[in-house]
Symmetry: C2
Subunit: 95 residues, 2 copies
DNA sequence: GTCATGGTTCAACACTTGTTGAAGTATTGA
DNA sequence: TCAATACTTCAACAAGTGTTGAACCATGAC
């Protein structure tokens, strides 16, 4: 691994931690982890206790860093937690 | 665990992730992890490539969330990474 | 078509954060 | 005592962030 790609990897790892460093977003991730199935926007918003507008803002960040993916079914958005990405990021700190 | 302490724990977990979510701080933590011994302020600042003033600012945050502890030997500050705290925080995401 | 539902985008705001350079403090050596 | 070292604190600034409410856009039911 080159110096450049190593630091790029560090930047990306930091972006995941940054996303997790916001209590509301951490609750979104925790909620998705606690379920076995993916969740709709309204489900998440209701569970976390925030508006859909705010949910959109936070899910944008979580998608940006690769922690969440979205698919649309009709008018409903369905969110999927990328567990591998999460595991890979924290794996750095596990011996 | 009560609802209150559970959310307090989540807040604290978020504060650790927030600290790790800044590339410069992540590099400080990575550097301390890569060493076997604790490091002085000048060592860290030199390795990470930042001023002592900026290092102070970032170490404050890392101490605040319990990731780092400091001891003084004369005029030198020596930083110790709290590996247990780090492991405990990310353990949540490891099955 | 009308209406409700579920989501997205926008503008605006207060607040926080990373960074810099300069000034200040404490310790050590000559 | 003088000077150097190793931080620490301060003030200031630009940039970014979380939150809100309103407006907007699709989709589905009737």
């Amino acid at each position: 691994m080159t110096r450049r790609s190593r630091s790029a990897a560090a930047e990306h790892r930091a972006s995941v931690f940054k996303a997790l460093g916001e209590p509301t977003r951490l609750r979104i991730v925790d909620y998705l982890r606690s379920r076995t199935r993916d969740a709709t926007g309204t489900e998440i918003a209701a569970h976390v206790g925030i508006s859909l507008a705010l949910l959109c803002h936070h899910t944008d960040e979580l998608v940006e860093c690769g922690l969440l993916t979205k698919r649309k079914e009709g008018q409903t958005s369905i969110w999927h937690l990328n567990g591998d990405r999460l595991a890979a990021t924290v794996a750095h700190f596990v011996d």
